[in-house]
């Protein structure tokens, strides 16, 4: 019985996801597309839950609810114009070609996926034992955290590089022209109500506690630097939106330090392991857990700050003035 209902649920989820994706693309209004994309993110979290990937559901929750939506709406706010929509229908041939391309892409994707699924699973107790023994050696109990920070630490190291590059790129785009004024619309503006101060005062400490909790719990289960960093970044977005953080044209030494900290600490750990005659980022036995912990704390901050800066569209941020004193 339970299995059948599970199938019904997955089927409904499949239909909803595909319907939402189609409407995101087809909707005539950009605002509607943005809202639907946010809802799509909610359902992706449910899909991760169904696929037994709570780490990803957690990341989706923090990034989808806290960052993507605000990012899209803020862009929408800037680019809205008075021009009427262009309702020019494409030529039939062009339209058919587009549909054909999409179908081809989807077909190739499905075939590749099918091939991927038919790869033999290294099943049996032996493979499981081996994997568990490897994970246990890292000092963390959680397999995904172990993969991110030990077995495939290169990926994570390079990811920090990508984040830094995105911030530098955005800064280069912004440097040509500072953000439009009127950014402080919130403070003293029509949106300001005493509720905002109360909400920020109540939520901020809670969000910081939850970020710390996620970082700590990452050693045992779903959580870790990525999720904690994303939750912290969402707090930054909230503070930026309510005028508690204001953009700066230049970042101070401290913020620059935080931006490169994850990359620096990670590389340093790698060099240290090499200095002791091991491979790059092959932690010494027994020291793996403390090293991973230090790296994770650095990563959390170095993930949160770039995301906030990218949202803010400025080189730096500073605590702003608030009308409602705490």
């Amino acid at each position: 019985m339970g299995e059948l209902v599970g199938w019904v649920f997955d089927g409904l989820l499949a239909l909803s996801l595909v319907l939402l994706a189609a409407r995101v693309v087809a909707s005539a209004r950009l605002f509607e597309s943005i809202v639907l994309f946010i809802v799509f993110g909610l359902l992706m979290a449910i899909a991760w839950a169904r696929l037994a990937a709570p780490h990803l559901a957690l990341a989706e929750a923090a990034i989808g609810a806290g960052i993507t939506g605000a990012l899209l709406l803020s862009t929408f706010r800037e680019i809205v114009t008075d021009q009427p929509p262009s309702a020019e229908a494409p030529k039939v041939l062009v339209y058919r070609l587009r549909v054909l391309m999409a179908l081809l892409a989807g077909g190739v994707f499905a075939v590749l996926g099918w091939a991927l699924l038919s790869i033999e699973v290294p099943a049996g107790p032996a493979a499981g034992e081996q994997a568990r023994a490897l994970v246990a050696r890292t000092g963390v109990d959680d397999a995904v955290t172990a993969v991110l920070l030990d077995f495939r630490a290169y990926d994570t190291l390079l990811e920090m590089g990508v984040l830094l590059l995105a911030v530098l790129g955005a800064r280069a785009a912004v440097a040509a022209q500072p953000p439009a004024s009127g950014d402080d619309l919130w403070i003293g503006g029509e949106g300001d109500t005493p509720m905002v101060g109360a909400l920020v005062g109540l939520l901020s400490p809670l969000i910081i506690i939850v970020a710390g909790y996620l970082l700590w719990v990452g050693a045992y289960g779903p959580g870790g630097a990525f999720q904690a960093g994303a939750v912290l970044a969402a707090l930054g977005v909230l503070l930026r939106l309510t005028g508690r953080l204001v953009p700066l044209p230049r970042a101070g030494a401290f913020q620059r330090g935080v931006l490169v900290m994850g990359l620096a600490v990670f590389s340093l750990a790698g060099l240290l392991t090499m200095a002791t005659g091991r491979a790059f980022l092959q932690y010494p036995e027994g020291l793996a857990y403390p090293m991973i912990l230090v790296i994770e704390v650095a990563l959390t901050l170095s993930i949160a700050l770039p995301l906030v800066l990218l949202f803010s569209g400025s080189a730096g941020i500073a605590a702003g003035r608030s009308q409602h004193s705490p």
């Binding site: 909803s16 359902l43 839950a49 559901a57 929750a61 605000a70 709406l73 008075d82 939750v231």
Partner: protein, 89 residues
């Protein structure tokens, strides 16, 4: 109990899909954001049910993060200029 909780989750998903009609119809941006808010609450309820059924306690933390950050979207929405959703392209 498993079947009932999963069935409830499926029912909530159907509710969500029906609510999409409001996002389609609008008419105002406020209507669309209200609907998104409803879907957020529905998602939290579904996550709690799935956490119970599939015994993944980590999903409760996901629900926690969702409710913690639910206000970010509305705050971003009310910053939009007046009636902007009606003169977009």
């Amino acid at each position: 109990m498993t079947a009932l909780a999963l069935g409830m989750a499926a029912f909530l998903l159907l509710n969500l899909a029906a609510g999409l009609l409001r996002v389609y119809r609008g008419p105002s941006g406020a209507d669309r954001i209200i609907a998104a808010q409803l879907f957020g609450t529905t998602t939290v309820a579904m996550l709690a049910l799935l956490a119970m059924v599939t015994e993944q306690p980590g999903l409760f933390d996901v629900a926690l993060v969702f409710v913690l950050l639910a206000t970010v979207l509305t705050v971003a929405f009310v910053r939009l200029p007046r009636r902007s959703q009606e003169r977009e392209r």
